[in-house]
């Protein structure tokens, strides 16, 4: 019985993966056409990015502040507190910026995308579009997917900058780290390679989180419970995949 259950779970997972791959293929085809309607994409960049700005900036600020506080205490033991700028910058740009932005994005924009598309489906809006000979993948899914993919690196960059501001405020203004050392150590130690790693991660996370959010919304059961479950699946799958991919990408960039 256990074996049968395991087999069913495996085939279910494989079938789901296959459906998602097919969905992705069709979605990417429609993305090319959606690019011809920049107005729709820009509106979704605002929806996914602009509306996440406050939460991203606040989280970035506090993350930078905590980094500076912990980093200062740690580095002080070795008398190298001047390295705080470079430590905070590396941690933010390579790791915390992309990962935390993706997790916050999944919780804020991802859930909004899933529930919006799921409710559109439950209220027959997607069927109405099909009946008007308009493909909802092109009009609804593709602009939202593209909006998420484009918004994620921008949000990550803002997270990093605000995080550095937080680290600077705590490290330099409160703990007394030398301002010149803070910036010069950062400039000397952070290379293009690190920035590329951060941008690559944010692009991959943006792609994955947006795909999951759009897919789950599009395939949600057209009921209140179905939309709720799909929204939960979006957060869980996006978060776990973000952390898994983060490990793989970090290993690849070493």
């Amino acid at each position: 019985m256990n074996g049968v259950l395991r087999l069913t779970l495996l085939t279910d997972a494989l079938a789901r993966l296959g459906r998602m791959a097919l969905f992705l293929f069709n979605l990417l085809l429609q993305c090319l056409r959606a690019l011809g309607r920049p107005g729709l994409v820009v509106a979704q960049i605002y929806n996914a990015g602009g509306r996440s700005l406050v939460i991203i900036m606040l989280s970035g600020l506090f993350t930078g502040m905590v980094l500076a506080l912990l980093g200062f205490n740690l580095l002080q033991r070795f008398g190298s507190q001047e390295a705080l700028g470079f430590a905070a910058a590396l941690a933010l740009i390579k790791e915390l910026g992309p990962v935390l932005t993706a997790l916050l994005f999944a919780g804020r924009a991802g859930t909004a995308l899933t529930s919006e598309i799921g409710l559109m489906n439950a209220t027959d809006q997607l069927t109405a579009m099909k009946m008007m000979a308009v493909d909802p993948l092109r009009y609804v899914a593709a602009p939202r997917f593209l909006g998420g993919v484009i918004a994620m690196p921008l949000l990550t960059a803002i997270f990093d900058i605000v995080g550095l501001f937080g680290a600077h405020t705590i490290g330099v203004r409160m703990m007394g780290v030398d301002n010149g050392s803070f910036w010069s150590q950062m400039q000397a130690a952070v290379g293009l390679h690190d920035v590329t790693e951060g941008i690559t991660k944010s692009l991959v996370f943006g792609f994955v989180c947006s795909l999951i959010a759009v897919y789950e919304g599009y395939h949600a059961e057209p009921t209140a419970e179905g939309v709720g479950l799909a929204t939960t699946r979006t957060v869980v799958a996006s978060s776990v995949l973000t952390l898994l991919l983060d490990y793989m990408l970090t290993a690849a960039f070493l």
């Binding site: 209220t123 009946m131 308009v134």
Partner: protein, 264 residues
């Protein structure tokens, strides 16, 4: 215009249609009636190629929908309009943009022309003054009238109404009824109205079909149906709670079930 011949359709082993045959003639209002759960909405989904029949043929504009590719299905749908039971207005667009949506997607009309067309259609349903409202600000009857304006904005040849009278107050119901009739008479639109509101349909339909148990059990003009002495037709037309369509969902004998519960 629309021909359904000997259609069979089942969902997860449960037969919805068992040899359904009906047709909608050009320029007429065809009523499809039946008790809840007889697959009326499923029939509309079959006619519009949203789902495929297991057996039998459905032809629209003289072509079998099962043989159509996705491009041909989209081309067919451009010649059709559909009014949904819950209106299905796009919630992120205002009333004007909802009606303009098909025009913007399928035509290269200039903005002034789109504006004139949309306002004319909204005027026809009496909602020109509501053009700037969002769908959430509309009552059920208003939303359905906007949906009707949207359904006719591309001048369809066939218009399909899915339960157009459900949940409407008598005034809104009267308005929708009058609009269906006007659209048919003034523009010659072939109309298929799926509903279980017998009295309303009888006033406008040219021909009616009564569906039960997966097939058509009676066909004719509403007056002919009203005169029928078939038990199922008379039960439906006069709204008797019990008859060939049972009041009770199939269940074991109540005494046996209650006594079983006691012993458990």
């Amino acid at each position: 215009m629309v021909e359904v011949r000997d259609v069979h359709y089942a969902v997860r082993g449960r037969a919805i249609f068992r040899g359904l045959t009906l047709s909608a003639r050009k320029g007429e209002i065809t009523a499809v009636m039946g008790p809840s759960g007889t697959g009326k909405t499923t029939l509309l989904r079959l006619m519009t190629a949203q789902i495929q029949a297991d057996a039998g043929t459905i032809s629209v504009f003289g072509r079998d929908v099962a043989q159509m590719g996705s491009q041909q299905v989209f081309a067919m749908r451009r010649r059709m309009g559909m009014l949904f039971q819950n209106s299905a207005l796009l919630s992120d667009l205002d009333v004007f943009e909802n009606v303009a949506f098909p025009l913007r997607e399928h035509t290269d009309l200039t903005e002034p022309l789109i504006r004139n067309l949309v306002l004319a259609k909204l005027n026809a349903v009496g909602l020109r003054g509501a053009a700037d409202l969002m769908p959430a600000e509309l009552s059920g009857g208003m939303a359905r009238r906007v949906a009707l304006a949207r359904a006719v904005v591309m001048d369809p040849e066939v218009l399909i109404y899915d339960e157009p009278f459900v949940g409407l107050d008598p005034i809104a119901l009267g308005m929708i009824l009058r609009l269906i009739q006007q659209l048919n008479q003034a523009l010659g639109i072939t109309s298929i109205v799926v509903s279980h509101d017998v009295a309303e349909l009888a006033t406008i339909a040219h021909q009616s079909y009564l569906m039960a148990e997966g097939r058509v059990v009676a066909a004719g003009t509403p007056a002919e149906l009203a005169r029928s002495d078939s038990p199922i037709v008379s039960q439906f037309m006069s709204g008797k709670p019990d008859g060939p369509v049972p009041f009770d969902y199939p269940a074991p004998d109540i005494v046996t079930q209650l006594l079983d519960g006691e012993g458990a």
